[in-house]
């Protein structure tokens, strides 16, 4: 876990990697303000420069230029490409055709590896370890790729999982198959409340109203997946709540002031992790 170690050392200022004179192209074909800001902050904290492209409106992509041509052109200017694209496999393709490193900042519903790494980093920071943790995942587990990546990443560390989601938003079969193959214990439950005292980490994701065909179904379920202070009565002292943000109402504001809320620090950890990723890929001196 070289990246976790790097991030730790960067955060504690044990090392100060030097990106001066280097340029990162942040290509957000699919816009995402938060992820973009996080990477841009990481670049600038390292002393590097960035250029940004957001959406496809202001590029030649609209004039019918292929993605491959766009990427090859930009790779003539930059030392590193960070890209987010709606098309799945786009970043992998980019890394195959370019001579400079490519960071996948999300490709469609497929991967968001830097998010998974910052989540691991946050868990390690709060728990002092990654092994043998009990982790609850709550909300839309079917389409939320952050929970998929995290479940996969943690599966190397003998976790116990509770998956709490409405019936049609369950963890996808392929993830569950992978976990079974690795002998990971998990339980699918409707209600997270009863298992709260067991949890080391709870990872909450947003349930979107649009995912329900019938509004009444949403209203009926909504409350079982909204985390309030009441949920936190009997939790462990090391217990932390995480959320990839943005949040809507799935964690009430009153929770923010408890020692269990960790989502804003989690966002901050994202910058350290992205600094670590860039440091590694560009082999920066420190």
């Amino acid at each position: 876990m070289e990246l976790l170690d790097l991030a730790t050392r960067i955060e504690s200022r044990n090392i100060v990697p030097d990106m001066r004179g280097k340029l990162a192209a942040l290509l957000f074909f699919e816009p995402s303000t938060r992820t973009h800001f996080s990477f841009d902050t990481a670049v600038k904290r390292l002393g590097g420069n960035s250029l940004t492209m957001t959406g496809t409106g202001n590029t030649s992509a609209q004039k019918g230029e292929t993605l491959s041509d766009t990427l090859k052109t930009i790779s003539q200017y930059a030392d590193l490409i960070v890209m987010r694209h709606v098309v799945e496999g786009a970043a992998r393709f980019a890394s195959e055709i370019l001579d400079i490193p490519v960071v996948n900042a999300g490709d469609g519903t497929n991967q968001h590896p830097s998010q998974a790494m910052l989540d691991l980093y946050s868990i390690q920071k709060t728990q002092g370890k990654l092994e043998n943790l009990t982790v609850g995942m709550v909300g839309d587990l079917r389409l939320g790729r952050t929970v998929h990546s995290l479940a996969q990443a943690l599966s190397d560390f003998n976790p116990k999982f509770y998956f709490a989601s409405p019936g049609h938003l369950q963890m996808p079969r392929y993830i569950k198959d992978e976990l079974r193959q690795k002998g990971i214990i998990f339980e699918e439950i409707q209600d997270i409340k009863p298992v709260m005292p067991e949890l080391d980490i709870m990872y909450v994701t947003r349930i979107q109203k649009e995912r329900f065909a019938v509004l009444e179904d949403y209203l009926k379920l909504k409350d079982s997946y909204i985390i309030t202070k009441k949920f936190l009565k009997n939790v462990k002292s090391n217990f932390k709540m995480m959320h990839p943000l943005p949040r809507v109402n799935e964690i009430t504001k009153e929770v923010d002031d408890t020692p269990y809320a960790y989502y804003f620090q989690q966002a901050k950890n994202g910058v350290f992790m992205r600094q670590a990723i860039i440091t590694k890929l560009l082999k920066l001196n420190w």
């Binding site: 496999g89 992998r92 469609g108 519903t109």
Partner: protein, 152 residues
Amino acid sequence: MKKDKLKVDPIKNGTVIDHITAGKALQVAEILNISSSETEVMVGINLFSQKMGKKDIIKIENREITQEEANSIALISPTASLIFINDYEVVKKYTVEIPQEIKRHIICPNTNCITNVEGVKTKFTLAGKSPIEVKCSYCEKKYSIEEVKFRF
């Protein structure tokens, strides 16, 4: 190989593909691009097989199927075996094997996959043997072999 099996329609030189999953012979023929070739080809469908109940068989004159071609057959008919004939004699036999990595031949069913959007050559890895499952190296989605289409 029993002699009498070959006696039916023996070929002088070429390849016999035996034990093809019943009903898959035409697809195998398509994979091998046989229809556009000049050679003589015999295709048997739903023949009696002691081992399989029913099987298909293809005999191709004057062509030696390569290992790579043979292994792409394995995707749709993992039971197939190849027999190479030279001057009516069996010179070599082997059973096809599903390759760990399959390039080009599988079309990714995911319309939002870069291979479909940008016309990138596909690359799949074998993700499971029974039932056969393949995984796209780009979008990382897994599919059963029945779900995918082929391009040869």
